[in-house]
Amino acid sequence: MSNGTGLDPQQPIVVRNLTKKFGDFVAVDNVSFAVNAGEVFGWLGPNGAGKTTTIRMLLGLLHPTSGSTHVLGLNSATQTKAMHAIVGYMSQQFTLYNDLTAAENIRFYGMVYGLSNRDLRQRQAEIIQMAGLEGREKALTSTLSGGWKQRLALGCAIVHRPKVVFLDEPTAGVDPISRRDFWTLIYAMAKEGVTVLVTTHYMDEAELCQRIGFISQGRLVALDRPGRLKQTQMRGDVLELNVSNPDLAMRILKAAQQSGQLPLDEVALYGAQIHAVVPSAEAYKEVLRALLSTAGIEVRSLERIAPTLEDVFISAVNAPA
């Protein structure tokens, strides 16, 4: 086992030179990273970047074209059975049985994972409490609302107290309060030493991760703590513009970007504000102001701001490979 990537085999999740091809399409391209014990690791990237494919290879549901993944020291592709007994997984789709009750779903997965009756009773009570489902144990899962479903799915995924948990977009489509509750649960698990790999499209959630891996078109483009990423990954400065006519201003800036008139890395609308990424704030502040004023747009404010994770994300995704 070569360790050329400098990854510590003791770490609970180790990915080495992982590549997955579907025909000519390279879904995951030579990706290497490792996750520390008890870490909440954010696995980020746009749709189709290879996030789920990576997780499925980690779980042994797909075989890598080359490279390897190890979870808790077990090779995902060859020691799948042993690995499955000690990891948990919540997939992108809701995968519990809608025609079973909440309690039946928990019991089912508990028994499948080989829990004793006594253990199962205890876990069932814990999970019902964790998911806030007291009094709804006998409700059909289909009748539960989004937040409850997600928490129940998490409960079923960790019924056997796994050491490593994979969560694939666990909070997609649930309300902000449910999302907040869900992250409280994730942190509670991490506190008990569980390693969590989680994917999300919500940048506020990404900020909550201890470390982040960015994947774009199958390639790992950034890997660090959120705070560090904002410092290191941003090529250029972010200017925030407050203008009288944001739609027109966007069109003008986009045109200037495309024609090469302005070296804008990125122009994006954030509500009523525009974020423009320029090589240097000092050099381009006045250029932008002049351009927009000429078009009759009133520039109310134009400030350099600290990049958000979303700016970093977009910058990383758009960076030339």
Binding site: R56, L59, G60, L61, L62, H63, T80, K81, H84, A85, V87, Y89, S91, Q93, F94, T95, L96, Y97, D99, L100, E104, R107, F108, Y109, M111, V112, Y113, G114, C156, A157
Partner: protein, 383 residues
């Protein structure tokens, strides 16, 4: 091992809960076989009764009149026209006035006394049901009439009946049908095979849908990352359906016996085991389809194809002995083929294990092979 059994128990319990909770699906699974049974039993009647028939009686004696009366009494023929010769009968059939003609030649009485009477039967070949019904009915009447005559003749001469009864029987070709089903009641003949078609359709269809359904819902992905083994999963899908299909079989046979009055001649115990093997093999075949199908629609299509092959090649309606090698081979791949043969043997003939053990053994081997194949083909992976 106990862990494996515990997983199996959990999986089976889950399947049963889901099956019982899906009232609509359950009603469909129990209702469809009954619908099929009644449709086939009542609508698909290959016997045609009261065929309008032209009579040409050139013999004009007591015996010829008796013969005509016997034809009418058989319920298969209505003597609607009295004509003079064969040409007139042809015209009447051409015009559609009648669909059959009976021509009794002169000297019919004398010929029957000699034991070699010939009656010409003309049948409308454009209506195959009338032809086959009319032909077999007339042949049967002719046989019973002739043997009746023979018996009468023997008694008049004062010779002991029993000694000559066999000899007096004309060169009669007795078919199985006549042996076990003297009145040729269609449902008697149909039911043992029909039960096979109905149950194979149900079992293959339900089994074909059951794994692919979880694949479509995405729930399979969650199961795949548990320690569940493929064989456990396959068995857990199979066992509840097996119970349900056995129940359905009980209802179908029960209706056949008590509603349609089909006599059950053989051993219930033996029939139960035959059915069990048959249903298990059909479910296994369905599960094999389910593994290969990507969508429920694909699985449904494969199930439909199996039903069509079963209907045409399984021996329920069309005799397999008349089939060319390739269709017969396709029939050999269906559990139904073995069941239909053995089912008739037990149900209608009432004979025992000695005559059906080969079919039962074939079904047992079939079951083991398809279940293992289904488990083997069931990949614990998604690619």
């Amino acid at each position: 091992m106990p862990k494996s059994l515990r997983r199996l128990a959990a999986l089976i319990r889950k399947e049963v809960t889901q099956l019982l909770r899906d009232r609509r699906g359950l009603a469909y699974m129990l209702g469809l076989p009954l619908l099929q049974l009644f449709l086939y039993a009542y609508a698909v009647n290959t016997s045609v009764y009261h065929i309008p028939t032209a009579i040409v009686d050139q013999s004009r004696d007591r015996k010829s009149r008796e013969f005509v009366q016997a034809l009418v009494n058989s319920q298969y023929f209505n003597a609607t026209l009295q004509l003079e010769n064969g040409a007139e009968v042809m015209t009447a059939i051409d015009k559609g006035q009648v669909r059959a003609g009976v021509i009794i030649p002169p000297h019919f009485a004398a010929d029957t006394d000699r034991g070699s009477a010939t009656v010409l039967m003309m049948l409308d070949g454009s209506d195959s049901a009338s032809v086959s019904s009319g032909y077999s009915a007339a042949a049967l009447v002719a046989q019973s009439y002739a043997s009746h005559l023979a018996t009468e003749q023997v008694q008049r001469k004062g010779i002991r009946t029993s000694a000559l009864a066999g000899a007096s029987a004309l060169p009669i070709t007795t078919s199985t049908r006549v042996l076990y089903n003297p009145d040729m009641i269609d449902i008697w003949f149909l039911l043992p095979g029909l039960a096979g078609l109905i149950l194979q359709t149900l079992a293959v269809q339900q089994a074909a849908l059951i794994i692919v359904r979880e694949r479509e819902l995405g729930t399979i992905e969650q199961i795949l990352i548990t320690p569940t083994r493929p064989l456990e999963l396959v068995l857990s899908k199979m066992i509840p359906l097996l119970a349900l299909c056995l129940l359905t079989m009980g209802v179908v046979v029960g209706i056949g016996v008590f509603w349609f009055g089909v006599p059950f001649q053989g051993s219930f115990f033996l029939y139960f085991w035959l059915t069990l093997l048959f249903i298990a093999s059909s479910l296994g075949l369905g599960l094999l389809f389910s593994n290969r199908a990507r969508t429920q629609k694909q699985a449904q299509q494969q199930a439909l194809l199996t039903m069509m092959f079963g209907l045409l090649l399984g021996g329920m309606i069309y005799p397999r002995s008349a089939m060319p090698a390739i269709p017969r081979f396709i029939g050999d791949l269906l559990p139904m083929t073995y069941f239909v043969r053995a089912s008739r043997t037990i149900f209608t003939k009432g004979v025992g294990l000695r005559f059906v053990w080969t079919d039962m053994l074939a079904l047992a081997i079939y079951t083991v092979v398809v279940v293992l194949l289904a488990a083997r083909n069931f990949k614990k992976r998604l690619d």
